[in-house]
């Protein structure tokens, strides 16, 4: 027992002492464990803490984690540029050469990701302090959020493949808990289960990939794996490594909601809006991109895998963008837009534009979280209604929300000089520069860009412009509307005691925490792009360079002029898309309804997200359910009971037959005695010879 506790105590002593020079990863441990401690404090003391205190504990934990991430950054900056990585850990479950260790590892890529995760999480926690007020599960919410951040950091900082899988699984569990947060809604619990099961598929794929990597390279430690990947004699484009790449992609796609494992994301909007902002925009869904960047040598080795990733990423990009065009639920529009933007990142990573993808990951985190937060504010003003057809004219009633929403939407659309503009077009120009089949991918990206611009501003115009909705008028009069609290999907009456979302609604205009959080993100959405101006600033590229220098395409960098041309094209596309949206929704109101009437089938197709849910239901869910019924009715009854009943029937029949000999007829008995004796006598006579 003592041997078990010693390593844990040793590491605990690290923190107690503050600075222990022998463990270089001290700040990494603090970064990882602070959110967990926050979650434990909230969970174990959930009856003690008041709402205010719980919110403060939760938010403070993440701000502290952000501080620790900064400390890690400082630590790395103090190191030589080529050697900026730290590894530390203990044995977890090691046997027979399987080095299943609890190791954390951080380098430039991990620290960047950790900063994004903790930074945006901290702001979302701040937002939630106000937004979730009067929700009965307030403390539970912050506990789950903290646990989620811990899980995400575990994934990001994992230095061992199986620990990565553990982080992957925890994130899935946290996502499930948060999606089904309002657990009295059957639509929420169903969505949570769907997300969880798809996530498990990704988990299994990663375990198989981990096995194959261990089998080939005899280690599970990630830095060692990456180092070995440079050796052309050990890591070759064989079937095994293609399988590794494809399995890693399955895991990534399940987590990042890419086709074909994407159907859980729109349903995940059942969770409270801060959850959508944090998990389904900024962090969890980007884990797939992070995985591809982290394990990039193993994806690059297989051209088949790279092309598959690029193709599926682009397909997702287009499918999601077209679906977003017709959606009527505000959160779903933003969800599909997330799916689409991550398609950009995946396709970019597949094209080996890693730093560009990470750059877009960062800017996307800012503006998407901002969009969700603003949407939350609007939905609160609508008394819980999320249907954009019932909204309108909130510009006057909610000026702050309007401004930040517009900033977010324009950034998403790629309006010149905003951060999305720089990052999205950087991905596109790198992809274009790769040439060959990637030109088609880049073309797809441009098509996606115009669609993105269109649907982003569509949301703006539908929600904030036009005739004010009744709720907007109410708000102008200084009173927030209260909805009728019926679940639109199932028609059941909401149980407001377990949330949704409590008795009161909170809008940005009235809550200081929400304003601060949204304002910070709006500011970042505007300025964050300036770190990567082609030919001028290369902050992210230079920072991540040592991580990706072993990439085969490390030198495939488009020229500065090509990038500026790309930016020009992007600007034109963005403005065109915005103009079309303006024409459709402002100048020519009603034209979209006419299109819907003229093309009902196309509209239905897009509205139902290309009928993927329908397809999966027919191909997977129903056959398995039918198989279950078959097992129950047929196999259990005939095969299994058959054995029991068959055996007893056999014995009974045998007994019947034997019983027939007991006829009660004395003469028959006598005959058998005499006969038997004769037989025995004959036997002795014969054998005796």
């Amino acid at each position: 027992m003592i041997t078990a506790i010693t390593p844990i105590l040793a590491h605990a002593a690290d923190f107690a002492e503050g600075a222990r020079p022998e463990d270089p990863a001290m700040w990494g441990w603090i970064l990882l464990l602070t959110p967990l401690v926050g979650a434990l404090i909230l969970g174990l003391g959930h009856r003690i803490w008041s709402e205010r205190v719980a919110g403060l504990i939760g938010t403070a934990a993440i701000f502290l984690a952000f501080g620790a991430a900064l400390a890690c950054l400082a630590q790395l900056l103090g190191m030589d540029a080529e050697e900026r990585h730290v590894l530390s850990g203990f044995t977890y479950a090691q046997a027979f050469g399987v080095d299943f260790r609890f190791d954390i590892y951080y380098d430039q890529l991990a620290v960047m990701m950790a900063l994004i995760v903790t930074g945006v999480s901290a702001l979302i926690h701040l937002y939630s302090m106000a937004y979730m007020k009067s929700d009965r599960g307030y403390t539970r919410f912050f506990g789950y959020l903290n646990f989620f951040v811990f899980s995400m950091l575990l994934l990001v900082l994992a230095g061992n493949m199986l620990l990565l899988v553990i982080g992957w699984g925890f994130v899935g569990a946290a996502s499930y808990l948060l999606i089904s947060f309002w657990y009295r809604r059957s639509s929420a619990t169903r969505a949570g289960a769907k997300a969880f099961v798809m996530n498990v598929i990704g988990d299994v794929a990663l375990v198989i990939a981990a096995y194959l990597l261990w089998h080939e390279l005899h280690t599970l430690t990630i830095p060692t794996l990456l180092a070995n990947a440079d050796d052309p004699f050990t890591v070759m484009p064989t079937a095994t490594f293609t399988a590794v790449a494809l399995l890693l992609l399955v895991g990534a796609f399940a987590k990042s909601a890419q086709v074909p494992l994407h159907t859980w994301l729109p349903d995940a909007m059942e969770g409270p809006t801060p959850v959508s902002a944090l998990i389904h925009a900024a962090t969890m869904v980007t884990a797939g991109v992070y995985l591809i960047c982290r394990m990039h040598p193993f994806i690059e080795i297989s051209d088949a895998a790279s092309m598959t990733a690029a193709a599926l990423g682009t397909a997702t990009l287009l499918i999601a963008a077209t679906t977003a065009l017709v959606q009527t639920d505000l959160k779903r529009i933003i969800a599909y837009s997330t799916m689409s933007q991550i398609g950009y990142m995946i396709a970019g990573a597949a094209a080996a534009a890693y730093s560009a993808s990470m750059f877009h990951l960062m800017t996307h985190a800012f503006f998407k979280a901002l969009l969700f937060m603003s949407a939350g504010s609007v939905i609160a003003a609508m008394g819980g209604i999320q249907d954009v057809r019932r909204m309108g004219g909130f510009k006057k009633a909610m000026p702050f929300t309007y401004i930040v929403f517009v900033i977010g939407a324009l950034t998403l659309a790629g309006f010149p000089l905003l951060s999305g503009f720089w990052s999205k077009d950087e991905i596109i120009s790198y992809t274009l520069h790769r040439g060959g089949a990637f030109t088609i991918i880049a073309a797809g990206m441009y098509i996606g860009a115009i669609l993105t611009a269109f649907y982003s501003l569509r949301a703006v115009f539908l929600v904030f412009h036009g005739d004010p909705a009744p709720e907007a008028k109410e708000l102008e009069g200084g009173h927030i509307a209260h909805g009728d609290h019926t679940n639109p999907a199932t028609g059941e009456h909401e149980d407001t005691e377990v949330g949704f979302p409590g008795a009161d609604h909170h809008i940005a205009e009235r809550e200081g925490e929400m304003k601060v959080a949204m304002g910070t993100l709006a500011f970042l959405a505007i300025v964050a792009g300036f770190v990567q101006i082609p030919g001028v600033t290369h902050v992210i590229e230079k920072w991540l360079e040592p991580v990706f220098e072993d990439s085969r395409y490390a030198d495939s960098i488009p020229s500065v002029s090509a990038q500026w041309i790309g930016l020009g094209v992007g600007a034109v596309i963005a403005i065109t898309g915005i103009a079309i949206a303006y024409w459709a929704y402002m100048k020519n109101r009603g034209v979209t309804e006419r299109w819907t009437e003229r093309f009902p089938r196309a509209n239905a197709f897009l509205l139902n997200a290309w009928y993927f849910d329908w397809l999966y239901d027919r191909v997977f869910v129903r056959p398995v359910a039918a198989f279950a019924v078959f097992c129950n009715k047929v196999i259990e009854r005939f095969v299994v009971d058959g054995i029991v009943v068959g055996t007893t029937t056999l014995v009974k029949d045998g007994a019947e037959r034997v019983r027939a000999a007991q006829s009660g007829l004395a003469r028959a008995y006598a005959l058998s005695i005499i006969g038997g004796t004769v037989v025995i006598a004959l036997y002795f006579v014969v054998v005796g010879k």
Partner: protein, 107 residues
């Protein structure tokens, strides 16, 4: 004298007795047949005793006679009891040792 004759006679007696036992339905006749079988066995015992010059066979034959006598007493007693209780004196009708499911209600 050749012992084979005695053995043959014994076998004939035994077979007649056995055949009669199986073929006849009256308990009284079955008892007679049993006696016949026993006497056949006795004959062969005595013959072998004489052949080996061993008195044991003759003594055993006497024992058999005693047992036969006892058994006849019991058997005749059973027949008288059957007659007194107005039961059929037919061995095929007296099958109450069989499966009780098919037992008839007479008893």
């Amino acid at each position: 004298m050749n012992i084979s004759w005695y053995i043959a006679l014994s076998a004939v007696l035994f077979s007649i007795g056995a055949g009669g036992l199986v073929a006849r339905r009256s308990p009284l006749v079955m008892l007679l047949c049993l006696e016949l079988m026993l006497n056949g066995a006795n004959l062969s015992l005595v013959a072998f005793a004489r052949m080996h010059g061993d008195g044991g066979g003759q003594i055993f034959a006497l024992v058999v006679m005693v047992v036969a006598a006892c058994e006849v007493v019991v058997g005749l007693g059973l027949i008288v009891a059957l007659y007194r209780n107005r039961l059929p004196i037919d061995i095929d009708e007296l099958d109450h040792l069989k499966d009780p499911q098919k037992a008839d209600s007479a008893l």
